[in-house]
Symmetry: C2
Subunit: 227 residues, 2 copies
């Protein structure tokens, strides 16, 4: 008897594994475990292939992460650019609400992914930090543009450093998306999950009162994001 030949598993599969599918798997595992703890073997398992296949499509684990950024961030920056167009004459709080909508739409599909990016900003490797900073610097500039136009139009009180205002608006919004769902039921001792949309609205209303030239003027009604 021939010694029970192992099943022939090598060679091309019926359905080719595309680089995009590997990125999908990597995103899931990165988000779940973090960048360094995530193993290529776990990513491969998630994608249903061999770890070595990853090296057919990517140079390294870090290259997967930057490819992930390349896939996610540019559409966000494009959306922000449209909002920051000075031809947009809507009231500033509405434009800021659109900014939040862009972040919500482009970054909220993958829970954990933003936290991952945030962690790499704080203590990531050199190359990764540089890539992130290039991207997010572009995004921040657009938000800052909206705020500066708001000052020029007399709607935002001057004296407030625009870079701080940018940081406040965006960072707390992302913290709402990332941390509030985790923290609310347990740390804050909340019986029912808070509605994310309510939290986002509450934040913009508070923020707008804080930066408006006339804080007594109410914040205009904020539509739903997807509109």
């Amino acid at each position: 008897m021939s010694p029970a030949m192992p099943p022939r598993t090598r060679g091309p599969k019926p359905h080719k594994v595309e680089a995009d599918q590997l990125l999908d798997a990597a995103q899931v595992v990165f988000a779940r475990e973090g960048l360094r703890p995530a193993s290529l073997r776990a990513i491969a398992r998630e994608a249903g292939c061999d770890p070595a296949l990853i090296y057919y499509h990517f140079d390294s684990k870090e290259a997967m992460f930057t490819a992930l950024l390349d896939r996610r961030v540019p559409p966000l920056v494009e959306a922000l650019k449209r909002i920051a167009d000075p031809a947009d004459l809507r009231a500033t709080p509405l434009r800021l609400w659109s900014v939040m909508g862009a972040f919500h739409r482009h970054l909220s599909h993958d829970p954990g992914f933003r936290s991952l990016v945030r962690g790499e900003i704080v203590r990531g490797a050199e190359g990764i930090q540089a890539r992130i900073q290039t991207y997010l610097g572009g995004a921040a500039q657009q938000v800052r543009g909206v705020l500066e136009q708001g000052i020029a139009r007399g709607e935002v009180r001057p004296g407030l450093p625009p870079f701080l205002a940018t940081f406040f608006l965006v960072r707390l919004h992302l913290e709402i998306l990332d941390l509030l769902p985790v923290v609310a039921p347990q740390i804050l001792g909340l019986e029912e999950r808070p509605d994310l949309a309510t939290a986002e609205r509450t934040w913009l209303q508070l923020y707008w009162r804080g930066i408006a030239t006339d804080p007594a003027a109410p914040c205009p009604p904020l539509p739903a994001f997807d509109a």
Copy 2:
């Protein structure tokens, strides 16, 4: 010739390595590399001892982390309790400023440590999450108390959910401490480092305008933290 006996290195050292020193080292390494990537060998190297010695003082790597929490968080909670005492009749913004001062004092000595804790909240192991939540839940309750007293005294506008207001105040303050120094020069394209104290003041002033019953009434002058 006797085969060059290795130097006798075993046995007690002239200066005993205390558990506290191991915690100091662990804090440094955890903060630099994160919880899972930090290796016991790296911690031992930082402490100048053998990795095995860690097991003489602690049960495991995770036990080191919870011990770290046990050392840092309770003093913060005590300070917050004093501020939240209803007998404290100072203006609410001043009390909130004291809250920020407590966080600043008790958590800002070790850059990276807060980020570590934050990361473990989001995706840490079960036991660690529970411990963190117990501690930080206590802290959050005190802050919430100050805000609710502010509402009762007519200084804070009602209708704002206190748990959201708590989350906003504390989270953005911690983001200022953690992220702003990293992000400001690079992502926001700032020529000069922003002054942390200025950023903290700016945040409380914006926040107070956002939550005060009378937003036109100016925020009282905020003293330096250490006073």
